[in-house]
Symmetry: C2
Subunit: 230 residues, 2 copies
């Protein structure tokens, strides 16, 4: 944990509910490619970065255009563009990579952080772009199903984050004001959208990335989810 990065405007106050982004925050999106790293070859990280970047581009572009297409489909289409852009990488890995994406590793601190917050009386929820089926499978594969009270998928709305309606799934379902919900994401763009909506936001800056979205700053920045317990 990077002590200098760990600050929180409302540290220690506690929240009635902690809502977590899934991909990148609870689940390591790069673990799918890492599992097949040797077969992918030296460009595996660039391949994984492009897979993620294209998947996100597709969510934003289609949401703005009013043409929703579900996250499982976008994940496949983004993977296919990666194979086209990296012709030296073996396309027969497609099925294995998609299978790995459905069963991503969760970050090591996730179980203890969720169980501690839950023992303190907080409700624990996921709010994700993933389809309900993807999220069910990921949660089950990571063995954290008993630590999560609610799973909210934007698929019920047919619009992706950072649309305010996506974040409103949590306030409406939990019956809480936005500012009384602590929202955690490792994705700085997701923190920007959540902050615009009104959540109390913790950016889990796992990569030590430079800050962005200066007018939509998080309330706290931690290097891992353990910062929530400090």
């Amino acid at each position: 944990m990077n002590a200098a990065a760990d600050r929180d405007a409302r540290h220690g106050a506690g929240y009635a509910a902690y809502v977590f982004d899934a991909y990148g925050t609870l689940f390591d999106v790069h673990s799918a490619v890492r599992r097949h790293q040797q077969a992918l070859g030296p460009d595996y990280q660039a391949f994984s970065d492009l897979w993620r970047a294209k998947q996100l581009e597709y969510t934003w572009v289609r949401s703005l255009a009013g043409r929703y297409r579900d996250f499982a489909t976008l994940t496949e289409e983004a993977l296919d563009v990666c194979f086209a852009r990296f012709p030296e990488i073996d396309r027969s890995l497609r099925a294995d990579l998609l299978e790995a994406y459905r069963r991503l590793d969760c970050f090591s601190e996730v179980p203890v952080v969720l169980s501690t917050l839950r023992q303190q009386g907080a409700r624990i929820a996921i709010l994700s772009n993933g389809t309900p089926a993807m999220l069910d499978e990921a949660v089950a594969a990571a063995g954290i199903g008993t630590l999560i009270d609610e799973v909210f998928s934007v698929d019920t709305l047919k619009i992706y984050k950072t649309a305010p309606a996506a974040y409103a799934l949590a306030t409406q379902s939990l019956g809480l004001e936005a500012r009384d919900i602590a929202f955690q994401s490792s994705n700085r763009w997701d923190i920007a959208g959540a902050k615009a909506f009104g959540f109390t936001c913790h950016w889990i800056n796992r990569a030590g990335a430079p800050d962005e979205y200066p007018e939509l700053a998080p309330d706290g920045v931690f290097s891992t989810l353990e910062g929530l317990l400090a």
Copy 2:
């Protein structure tokens, strides 16, 4: 020109108006970095790619969140993140790069293509995410001001492409149905948005990129704007 890539469902029909995206389509967004390539060092292309990717991410994320911020500001903020991600690149290049971005090279075929279409009686317009001041300066620097009838900037609406309202600037101002306007962009995501809106779309696939957005396919694909004259 790649003959195999040059196909157009309505080839030769002619259109009352040709509407062009600016950045990447008329103007080479990578020419800013290329002018300072030696000073930037070996990572100049990755730096330029990240500058572009972050600029676009910021337009989509903020539009979806309902938090517009103008394109000149986003271009600066994206550049600053690039300097943070590439600490070995000299930050004193900042002002020169921003100056170069205001006066990008236009692609070599642009003047002859625009003047030919205009001589054939078509109206020529730009529809861009850029601010009016950015577009005025870019058009003047490229010396193509006399070839363009209208410049539409999303800044008047405070929402970026691919929102339908952005594309509607052209239909409303030109007094034409969407399908009677030929819309050209080198950005596949922009073609997706324009197709969702209803334009007749020509993807100028300068980079020979793999196709994306399968449900929002262009009506024609050309490797340069010269394909419009074929």
